[in-house]
């Protein structure tokens, strides 16, 4: 009885897993099909012959390498800068005593409800005034610190014993030195988690770069893919190759570091 139920359950889980993976598998498969093969009836699931022509077209005629590099640079830079600011702020909220600290923190938490889209317009107008529209710095500036990041670091830093900080202070370490050589090493696990979150989030972000970057040589990969897919509606295989290139980096990062990623979600969900 129990084993029959177990077999049914596993069968169900496998079917659901296949359903979850099918769009991705088909994307990879179609990206290697000769042009036109994905638009046949009945649909072909496996390419009749492996063809790299679409990847070639993407890198030569459509210069997708440029967008790829833009995305890599922006994601890495934003990740590093925001780790720096978030960790300083999170540490300060956890360990410094200053007037209005708790009230400020509660205000920050309440602001998490305001979605990025709502603040996009005023942010755009402000950046326009200071001439940062259509610059990479305009993309970076919006991601330099995040409430969620500050929150994660603070929760983690709360568990660091005050005596460690006091001891370093006694030894004459400067405040920055304490942050850099005592706090940061102790926060390593949460920093890794936050780094993955930020990298994936920045890489996948579409709305903000779409708005801030107007010059098409500056596009990030998702923006370029969205624009290209509007111009190449019929070129299914070509677009699948573009989608593969867009998804592959984040997928690899996730698979390599998924333990930290999943942990981050669980920490975030345990009561803000």
């Amino acid at each position: 009885m129990k084993s029959i139920r177990s077999i049914i359950l596993h069968g169900l889980m496998i079917v659901l897993a296949i359903m979850t993976l099918i769009p991705g598998l088909w994307m990879v498969s179609a990206s290697f099909m000769p042009a036109g093969e994905a638009s046949t009836f009945p649909p072909t699931l496996v390419p009749s012959s492996i063809s790299f022509e679409h990847y070639e077209t993407l890198f030569t005629r459509l210069e997708i390498g440029k967008y790829f590099v833009n995305s890599v640079i922006l994601s890495v830079v934003i990740t590093l800068i925001s780790l720096f600011f978030n960790s300083m702020a999170g540490y300060a909220f956890a360990k410094y005593r200053f007037a209005g600290r708790d009230r400020m923190f509660r205000l920050l938490i309440a602001e998490m409800v305001i979605p990025a889209q709502v603040t996009t317009l005023p942010l755009f107008l402000m950046l326009n005034k200071v001439g940062l529209v259509n610059t990479y710095f305009g993309v970076i500036v919006a991601g330099m610190a995040t409430i969620y990041g500050i929150f994660l670091i603070r929760q983690f830093a709360l568990s660091i014993p005050d005596s460690l900080i006091e001891a370093a202070r006694m030894d004459g370490a400067s405040e920055f030195k304490i942050y850099w050589s005592v706090i940061l090493p102790l926060c390593r696990p949460i920093l890794v988690t936050l780094a993955i979150f930020t990298f994936l989030g920045t890489w996948n972000d579409f709305f903000w770069p779409l708005i801030v970057l107007t010059d098409d040589s500056m596009y990030t990969l998702p923006v370029a893919l969205a624009i290209l897919s509007g111009e190449h509606v019929q070129d299914t295989e070509l677009m699948m190759a573009g989608a593969v290139l867009t998804v592959l980096p984040v997928l690899l990062v996730f698979l390599a570091l998924q333990k930290y990623y999943i942990q981050g979600i669980m920490i975030g969900s345990v009561k803000g």
Binding site: S6, P23, Q117, L225, S229, M240, A243
Partner: protein
């Protein structure tokens, strides 16, 4: 034109939030129960597989699904044809375009909520199940009297973040339908984008952003009020 399309955008977004949200939360809970079941081996493998759509790039996913939904060559209609269902023009038919986007968003997002539900389920003390088993409670009885009540707080949390996410619907209609057909997938954020950044009607766009904020705030307040009421009861 503006007033009418704003109304349409609003009702489309509500449709997406009110149908897509509860559907996504339900699917996530069911998947969490499956993944967390004691009978299942390779739990972490299945968890990872179900989670993969969450980390993928939404734009790329929308590009792929646009072809999966193709009325003649798409895999979905092909699979449905095995069951004798006639081809549906998913993204070309005003009735089906929004359900198609909902299906995509449930697929893309359920893994995230599933992980949060798994964390919630694992925090339920095992003694409760043991005690109820000694008292002779069956699987369904346990689910109804222990699991479900104790997973309610998690459900509220998941419900709020899902709502906030869903109100911001943008990339899917931008890539797949441009808000069509017949404005059936025009979302509030898409309208805000079109008005603000395509036609440079900044004031109108700002007004939409403000309404969006009011909706989210109201939604969050209602959910926290219900939650408080529930925890008092």
């Amino acid at each position: 034109m503006s007033a009418l399309s704003a109304f349409e955008a609003m009702s489309n977004t509500f449709y997406f939030v009110l149908v897509g949200g509860p559907l996504s939360v339900t699917v996530s809970l069911v998947m969490a129960l499956l993944v967390n079941s004691k009978l299942v081996r390779f739990q972490s493998f299945f968890r990872t597989v179900y989670f993969v759509p969450v980390v993928t790039t939404l734009v790329a996913v929308a590009v792929v699904w646009r072809f999966l939904y193709h009325p003649r060559f798409g895999l979905l209609n092909y699979a449905l044809s095995w069951f004798g269902i006639n081809p549906v023009d998913w993204l070309g038919d005003p009735t089906w375009a929004m359900p198609a986007i909902i299906l995509l968003s449930v697929w893309k997002g359920f893994g995230y909520n599933m992980i949060i539900f798994v964390a919630g389920l694992q925090s339920i003390p095992a003694e409760l199940y043991e005690a109820s088993r000694i008292d002779g409670a069956g699987g369904w009885q346990q689910f109804k009297s222990i699991t479900l009540p104790l997973v309610v707080p998690t459900t509220f949390f998941v419900g709020v973040i899902t709502m906030i996410n869903n109100v911001q619907l943008f990339a899917e209609p931008y890539v797949m339908t441009q808000g069509g057909p017949a404005n059936s997938t025009l979302s509030v954020v898409l309208l805000m984008y079109q008005q603000g950044f395509r036609w440079w009607n900044m004031g109108y766009s700002a007004a939409i952003a403000f309404v969006l904020f009011a909706i989210i705030l109201a939604g969050a307040l209602v959910q926290s009020w219900v939650q408080k009421k529930h925890s008092l009861a």
